[in-house]
């Protein structure tokens, strides 16, 4: 590969100055015109039939312009399984579900009016544990499951609460267990957590007098919002414009469509007005996606030499009241169910189950944190029972080039062992530092969970002076997309990065991007940008060849000038080429240069419905986390003394930003390992603000030693692959493994709160 100029350097973030000066515009910072404020009325029962909704008092309240209920929203919405009402229609399925929405001239009037709406419910028995929900006598949450529209790679069981049953059968699991010397079987539990981006969900919608719908949204994926709204409201796509500003953190909760649809019928009633909804923290926590809880049973068979011969994994996911997105998390966890290990015989059943808890949905890791928790904990058990170093068990079974995943996909470009070894060396693996101190390692793998044809595209406009605009549909939510994509464009175009402008998306002007999720943008959008740049560069050469009357093969472009390699005096500036180029005779050669590039995976396939075999992964990113902890045995407080994280980025496009992601994911992982758990009481979310739901702060965040491993991804742009979600995955198991090492106590769930650790110590006594 030719030497890289921009890719691989830590250029300054494109959004840097805006963000440190407070001038970066988020949705709520924009003044867009005369505005109405919307507010939801939320259900006060977790499961119940709506007997009556009285909106008369609310409608009569001063300042109120309109009050709508579910019957004003005839169509459902959903990404994979169309099961979700904008506003509950006949019944409510979770506590806090929106049942009505008010538009008023002030936020205050809207909030007051909401209090005046009277809703009567016939409460139905609720179900709050997915294991209970799978039983024959459980109350049915979606009676019409059989009639819901669904992408045909999911397998709901109408008449039950099972929204998806993903089956995977690889090899011969019975034979695998027969070959094993030891069989280990354990149960694990991962509770719900919340993304809590500091910016809550917000949307503003305007129904133009010309019938055009404009949506400003905190959406991670404006194109998906447009697609879902077009379908739900039966509007052609060219009549919907979705604009994403800078997003104040996403982590998955702003994927798919969320709040936008709530205000569209209101906006339709008042053409020309902007109707805005801003979720407060509490609404954001209980009304948007929550990470699905997972109850799992994991059984592994292993030979005395440490080789795992068989794995049987049953996962029961708490999908919550609506699983339009959650069904795919369950699928992804299923097809990835061996984690970072090459296991020949696998039987997995992964169930997405409706309950009357808050809506389950995508969170950084997309099922991998929860699923690989079990794997990485069970490896410790294997090591203990066989008396082999757990690092060694990981090395023996870890995937290498040519290994197959649970789905039977062959992985390439892998150096998982280097990731493990790097963190092990960093934390001084093998050296016991004292009583109540322990060390732990865990590994990870993740591929983007996306449809096999999830596409990206890019347009590059070369200005008359040779500067460029890169137009893409990906969103900037902190991950550094604008910078990384500009670097790829700069590299491919050979135009300096400071001559490249890039903006956040607007579906009327920026080309299609499926979603900014799954750590896929660097790869997918990056590839389309590279192609667009190559297309533009090709045009530059063709025009220059014509202008200079020189074969293209003899020309080279240095970013400012195209010249002949044979005679440097034969040359043209980029200005001459890009500014509607003409010959000396005045005859035009070519108009403005517009490069286009698109990408769709060609290496992915559907999965066999019975065996789950196929190619679900666009690329696989591996990594590892190492931790050393000290436990106060009296209080149960876990102090993290060392934290090391390694990720195989293929090629770090921007090493500084790559490390930012690595640190950020590790910190989020640590926060879930030690503190975070959403608590419910019969569907009522108890800790729904920052007083009760605690996340990591600067003063309890230890220093992280981070390592970028670079095993180039053959088909990634310049060898790069995405790493945004991955660093989170192995943190909880690494910390738990360290705590187990310190105390010789098993933990099959997290967070490892002081009380939980203390209790485990008491139970052991």
């Amino acid at each position: 590969m030719a030497e890289l100029k921009t890719v691989g350097t830590s250029v300054q973030r494109k959004d840097a100055i805006e963000k440190v000066t407070g001038s970066a515009q988020f949705i709520e910072d924009r003044y867009m015109g005369p505005m109405l404020h919307a507010k939801m009325k939320k259900s006060t029962v977790a499961h119940g039939k709506i007997k009556n909704i009285n909106i008369e008092k609310a409608k009569a309240h001063p300042g109120v312009k309109a009050v709508l209920t579910g019957k004003d929203y005839p169509n459902k919405i959903g990404l994979y399984l169309i099961d979700r009402d904008f506003l509950a229609i006949e019944k409510v399925r979770f506590w806090g579900e929106p049942v009505a929405v008010v538009a008023a001239v002030t936020e205050k009037a809207a909030a007051e009016a909401v209090e005046l709406i009277e809703v009567e419910y016939d409460e139905l028995p609720g179900v709050f544990d997915p294991r209970e929900s799978m039983k024959d006598d459980a109350p049915i949450i979606h009676e019409d499951l059989g009639s819901y529209e669904i992408v045909p790679i999911f397998y709901p069981k109408p008449g039950t609460n099972i929204a998806n049953h993903f089956k995977l059968r690889k090899g011969d699991v019975e034979k695998g267990f027969a070959e094993a010397d030891v069989v280990i079987e354990k149960e694990y539990y991962v509770p719900q957590m919340q993304h809590v981006p500091i910016e809550t969900h917000k949307a503003a919608v305007q129904w133009g007098l010309d019938g055009k719908l404009t949506v400003w949204s905190t959406a991670q994926s404006p194109n998906v919002v447009r697609q879902l709204l077009a379908k739900s409201f039966d509007i052609p796509m060219h009549k919907i414009r979705v604009i994403s500003s800078y997003i104040g953190g996403g982590f998955g909760c702003k994927a798919g469509a969320s709040v936008e649809g709530l205000v569209i019928p209101l906006a339709k009633m008042f053409p020309g007005y902007i109707v805005r909804i801003v979720f407060n923290r509490e609404e954001d926590m209980q009304g948007t996606f929550t990470r699905q809880a997972l109850f799992s049973k994991l059984k592994t068979g292993v030979r005395k030499d440490g080789r795992i011969t068989a794995l049987e994994y049953e996962m029961i996911w708490d999908g919550g009241a609506y699983t339009e997105y959650g069904v795919n998390i369950v699928r992804a966890a299923g097809y990835s169910s061996t984690g970072a290990y090459d296991i020949p015989n696998v039987k997995t059943d992964s169930y997405c189950v409706y309950t009357n808890n808050s809506i389950g949905g995508p969170v950084r890791g997309f099922g991998m944190c929860e699923m690989q928790w079990g794997i990485e904990r069970q490896i410790e058990e294997i090591a203990k029972q066989l008396d082999i170093d757990p690092l060694e068990v990981r090395m023996i079974n870890g995937m290498k080039k040519g290994s197959t995943t649970a789905a039977g996909q062959v992985v390439q470009d892998v150096d998982y062992h280097k990731c493990l070894k790097t963190v092990a060396d960093q934390i001084g693996w093998g050296k016991k530092e004292g009583k109540f101190r322990g060390k732990g390692i865990a590994g990870l793998v993740k591929c983007p969970a996306q449809p096999s044809n999830a596409a990206s595209s890019a347009i590059i406009r070369i200005n008359e002076d040779g500067t460029a605009h890169v137009m893409i549909g990906a969103t900037e939510m902190g991950q550094g997309m604008l910078t990384v994509i500009s670097q790829i464009a700069s590299e491919a175009l050979n135009i300096p990065i400071d001559k490249i402008d890039i903006k956040v998306p607007d579906t009327d002007f920026t080309p299609y991007e499926w979603q900014s999720v799954g750590s896929r943008i660097t790869y997918t959008c990056g590839t389309s940008v590279k192609r667009a740049a190559e297309d533009a560069l090709g045009q530059i050469y063709r025009i220059a060849a014509d202008l200079l009357e020189t074969p293209q093969a003899d020309l080279t472009f240095d970013g400012k000038m195209v010249y002949s390699t044979k005679d440097p005096e034969i040359k043209a500036t980029i200005r001459e080429i890009a500014d509607s180029c003409k010959k000396c005779t005045g005859e035009g050669i070519a108009g403005p240069i517009i490069g286009r590039g698109s990408f769709v995976p060609t290496n992915m396939t559907n999965l066999d419905p019975e065996t789950g075999q196929g190619n679900p992964g666009l690329f696989y990113c591996f990594g590892a986390t190492g931790a050393e902890v000290e436990v106060d045995p009296e209080t149960g407080v876990v102090t993290v003394l060392q934290l090391a994280a390694a990720i195989d980025a293929g090629q770090a496009v921007n090493p500084q930003l790559c490390k930012s992601q690595l640190h950020g994911g590790t910190i989020m992982g640590l926060s879930t390992a030690l503190y975070e758990e959403v608590k419910f009481d019969k569907g009522v979310m108890l800790n729904r603000n920052f007083t009760d739901y605690k996340i990591s702060t600067i003063d309890n965040t230890p220093h992280i030693e981070s390592f970028i491993i670079e095993t180039p991804e053959t088909n990634g742009p310049y060898g790069a692959r995405g790493i945004g979600e991955q660093p989170m995955i192995a943190v909880a198991p690494a910390v738990a493994n360290a705590v187990c090492d310190a105390l010789d106590i098993e933990f099959n769930t997290f967070p490892l709160t002081p009380e939980k650790v203390w209790k485990a110590i008491q139970d052991k006594k």
Binding site: G22, F26, E28, P197, G248, G249, G478, H663, I698
Partner: protein, 155 residues
């Protein structure tokens, strides 16, 4: 009841007199009336720090101050840190160290950092941790933030 009161104050160096709703918080006033939207709302209960501003030289959560309370006081928001387009040393250090990701908590974080450096010229890691523990950053830029604040203190 929608009571209004006239107040006079200084914001980012400029004297202002305004009528304010007594029911409004300083956060709402800063954003909706002064149109200084760099100050962010994240929780409205003083737990996240995104709305941190300086009042008479001290950092406060503007969601927990009433707008009327700033009568006679001096308010500094993130917009007041740049002078003639020149970033201050903390802003520069935040850029150098990539001490932010989504940028939503950043204005509040920088205001807390500024207040720290005004009272402690050479802060230790522990000083930084203490001063910024009320500013949540869900993207997890804490390590870079510590480095940036330290670097800024040395400028």
């Amino acid at each position: 009841m929608s009571e209004k009161m006239a107040i006079s104050f200084t914001v980012n160096g400029n004297r202002e007199t305004r009528e304010v709703e007594v029911g409004h918080t300083l956060l709402k006033f800063i954003r909706d009336e002064l149109h200084l939207t760099g100050t962010k709302s994240g929780c409205e209960i003083g737990e996240c720090g995104a709305c941190t501003v300086m009042l008479d030289g001290k950092p406060v959560n503007s969601c927990l101050v009433l707008a009327v309370e700033i009568d006679g006081k001096e308010l500094l928001t993130i917009e007041g840190l740049t002078e003639n387009g020149e970033l201050d040393r903390i802003q520069k250090a935040f850029i150098d160290h990539a001490a932010f990701q989504c940028g939503y908590c950043t204005p509040g974080m920088i205001m807390s950092a500024r207040a720290l450096l005004e009272r402690t010229a050479n802060p230790t890691d522990e000083d930084i941790n203490q001063a910024l523990s009320g500013n949540l950053c869900r993207c997890g830029a804490y390590q870079e933030i510590r480095e940036a604040v330290k670097a800024a203190s040395k400028k």
